[in-house]
Amino acid sequence: MTTATKQVLMERMEGLRQIPAIPAVLTPLLRYRQQPAEQLDAHKVTDLLAQDKALAAQCLQMANSPLFGRWRRVDSLRGAAVSLGFHHLSDIAMSCGVLNLLPGGTSELDPIVFWEHSLGCALVCRHFARKINFGDPSKAYLAGLLHDLGIIVNLWVLPKEFRGTYELARREGIPLHEAEQKSLGFTHCDSGQLLAEHWELSPELAEVVTHHHNPPGSLNHTGLVALVQLADLLCRMRGFNYGYIEERQVNLLEESGFAVLAQHCPSLREFDWARLTFEMDSYMDDVHSLVRAIYPS
């Protein structure tokens, strides 16, 4: 991205009041997540969420989804915090927060489709991280959920230009970031980086947002960035796409993220990718029904 383009983007972002301002509830929540587990107070989190009634209602709906392992109905945020734990409840709140970031009105990229992709990617990241014993699955979830923040920026800041970009991607069946590079001269990774700085996201999340299409470009959190790249790609090929089909063939072992992640997880070389792919199928129905139940609520 050229300096001039960056300047234009920054100006447009500054000019917007609604977005990209991080929702009030999510800022302390993100800060909370950085604290050691023993210092966490679930009640503080539920009190915080209760301040935003619409968000709280969405959280409850999501907490009762099988996607979060609940088999008995919970009727209150406190109940959800007790039965799901802080991290799951916080994942849920973040997920609903992302949904609320999306602009209303008409856009080529259906907000439901975008949210399904983000939520699907978050679930696959968490599942994938568990399978390869990669760090904290909840962190992987958040990284998967937020990796495409730059698309939200593009939807708000450049609605007209982004519409053309999306149409190009759909027409040619190419990845969205390639279409962005062709038509805008920058990608959602670039605009996402600006938002990550604006929001003061943690360094690891900022790297995921900025480098998830090029993991070797990240500096300190290459493993997490690579994990998100592979999960994102799997999602786009398997049905959690952006509402159009990428007409291509993907060999995950040839992706730059594979070599990077294999350095962190040597067992990845023997990994059963077919099984992970088939397991993803089980998320599809639940994500579709959950998203349609919540949006717009």
């Binding site: 599942h127 090929m237 060999n251 077919a274 099984r275 792919t277 088939f278 199928d281 129905d285």
Partner: protein, 324 residues
Amino acid sequence: MLDPASLTATSKPAATPLVRNAVRMITAPQMRPGTGVVGPPEPDLVRIRDLIYQVAGIFHPENKLCLLQERCNRRMKEIQIATLREYCECLILRPAGQAELIALLNEITIGETCFFRNQPHLDALRQIVIPRILETKAKFPFRRLRLWSAGCSTGEEPYTLSMLLMEETSRRLKDWTFEILATDLNERSLVHARNAVYGSYSTRNLTAYYRLKYFIPVGEQLQVNPAARASVTFSRINLSDDARMTFMRSIDIVFCCNVLIYFDLASKRRVIQHFYNNLLPHGYLFLGHSESLYGVSDDFRLVHLPGATAYVKTERTPAGGSSI
């Protein structure tokens, strides 16, 4: 699809240690069941799912576990077993476990055969795989494609492929010829396939376009028209017959859906080795929708296509391994 009853006579049955070994490898239940299933997955059902994946390579995601449960229930009723736990033990421990596993696999794959069975596979074949192969073969003097439907059962799959390729003859396949070799072990299935007459169940996925263009009504049924039949050649081949398998040469794409699940690991490896040798360097292998080659062969690389997976033949390195 092969007839499992006749297959057991010609291929080695899975040794009990294989099953035992697979059972040891079963992982603890994870994730959660899908829509329509109340409560977490039944642990014994998950054990059976994992056993089937380890032994047969066919996977049931959580949202399909209720279907597996139905299939198990049918078998349990048949052999008068009351609980899933007992049934799981029956599959694993008793000497009859191998025969029961095949009976369960039959239940799982029953009704799988129909025209246009796996649309994402077919879309990927048409939109991505064929263009890639044509590009690779553009420098060859012969403009010919050769597909093999291995375990073609009553012929729905090879005829589907024939129709799909005919649709491309005015576009991508202009000036190309193609042939589809269709083989099965079961002679009765082959007689049905050659007659090419099908009832409503087999033709349930047909769109009006294909129905009108490629079929002729025969009473209540439909017969594939001569044009679509012309490019398909049927023959009886046992995939475990090394001598016959050696003669299948210069293949671009193999379709082998829900066939390998009946083979034990050693037989499966031998068949896959044959496919490797039969395929041209750029060749593709398509398995069933949730079927995997994991732990069977390193000679093929899993690739993701939109909504589908396939295996691509890898180049062997001089040291004997496979390159990515």
